[in-house]
């Protein structure tokens, strides 16, 4: 199968690495605007050949993985339309789905099957240099089929990502995807940003931190060119999740002010139960 990865950054590069390490017998090509990246990937035998434009390789593609920033995805897809062949399967890696699907599906030719999906293995650093096959191993993968997708193609994508190392592959609606990602990914990033930005820098906090502060700020190393657009595209769910979180925090804060041990204990018992439930799955370590 001829696979074309469009955008050979952190995630696109990780796909190339994971395909290579899976031992699957695919021919992998890439398109990227950065010629240095393409040459590096060719030298590392990550790809057979790199291209700066779609005209030559896209017509031959059996499977295309769009791994570009959400804000440019629509324009990139639009410019690729003339080169798409019948029967080509396509996916993306975008962290929001309703908006992206709504803008891209109307552009698609009839015999091309774009199955939108989202690898739950975000990396905070950008660029091919930070790509890694390991980050996909055991991670979750979300597929958001729509009525226009062919069942066998959805099954192909599901098997493909399993073969390159993902573990729990879920098929969910775009709405549910955005709701849950607003919680597990976007809310957590807003919390990490707010936490680290509420630090008093002159206190030289790093001298006195334990694991908990390091755990909660690990994702504060955020790409400011990517995340604002993701937040905006999902703002209805995200703002709701922030409000629910704040409601819990206010409840706890009030209990602390009132020295209300009973409420604190109840909240901690609840959080402990939920923690054990969360970690009861054999999850990625």
């Amino acid at each position: 199968m001829k696979i074309v990865i469009v955008g050979l950054g952190n995630i696109g590069g990780s796909f190339a690495l994971a395909i290579k390490e899976s031992g699957l017998n695919h021919e992998v090509y890439a398109i990227d605007k950065d010629i240095e990246t393409l040459r590096t990937a060719e030298e590392q035998n990550l790809i057979i050949q790199g291209f700066e434009s779609p005209s030559e390789i896209i017509p031959k593609a059996d499977f295309i993985i769009f791994s570009v920033y959400p804000l440019i995805l629509e324009d990139v897809v639009r410019s690729y339309i003339p080169y798409l062949s019948d029967g080509t399967i396509i996916t993306d890696v975008t962290g929001v789905k309703r908006n992206i699907i709504g803008s891209i599906e109307p552009l698609l030719p009839e015999n091309v099957d774009f199955i939108f999906s989202h690898p739950m293995a975000g990396r905070e650093n950008s660029g091919l240099a930070f790509a890694s096959a390991k980050v996909f191993q055991g991670a979750n993968y979300l597929i958001t089929p729509t009525p226009r997708n062919k069942t066998e193609n959805v099954q192909f994508l599901s098997q493909f990502v399993k073969d390159i190392g993902f573990r729990n592959i879920s098929e969910i609606t775009p709405e549910f995807h955005d709701e849950i990602i607003g919680f597990t990914s976007q809310l957590t990033h807003t919390i990490a940003i707010s936490l680290i930005n509420s630090d008093l820098v002159e206190r030289n906090t790093k001298q006195y931190t334990g694991d908990s502060y390091r755990d909660l700020t690990r994702i504060a190393n955020i790409n400011e060119k990517l995340w604002p657009e993701l937040f905006i595209m999902n703002k209805d769910y995200l703002v709701e999740h922030i409000d629910n979180f704040k409601h819990q925090l206010d409840k706890l804060s009030t209990a602390i002010k009132d020295e209300d041990v009973k409420t604190m204990e109840e909240m901690m018992v609840e959080s402990k139960v939920r923690y054990h439930d969360l970690h009861s799955l054999d999850m990625k370590e």
Copy 2:
């Protein structure tokens, strides 16, 4: 040197393990109310002998480490007073300092030197079975000297914890300790509790999580018999930190609602700078 560890739980047990693995030539004893724990520790050669009461071993102690719950520390110390010998050095492991020092210092005989301290290596599981020498390796250690402490004893404690694996040992005031711990440890725990408790359980979130949600909820496995008292003893600083955090979160939430990309980008750039500063120290991994 004869060392007596009072309370052979997770932290007390980790001290015993770390002393053993350091190769230092100390005689380590322990006092615990649970005789099974003492026998286990004896069989594992973690301690020379275990005791259920202080009368026999405390008079012989050169150095005592109180590793008991903060709420019982004052009573335990009070009951040990008759057995303390002149020149004995004492420390504790309590996560708050102003309140603890204020209640314990007035009880102490003149020739006993209680130097209050705090190993920044909390563990979420309790009991000797979860003790580990590894958790101390490279961790931060906070010592909060008071005017009644002898300089040479503070130096002894500092060298001792360095010898058993701690890396950055800071001497700070009890006030500064409580202020910064309210931020790095207590605020992070209130956030983790509030985050996991704001989850919709029926959504079966664990199927769809990435690393960020796991990172931010790792400390939600909280001991409800320990933390409410720590929060209450430090509520002035903790509530202030919660308010500062909420201020940042509100600012970000408003920017999301208003689709104010500029403010979001500024906050993210700031959080990225702070992240890199935080991780610029060669810290515990």
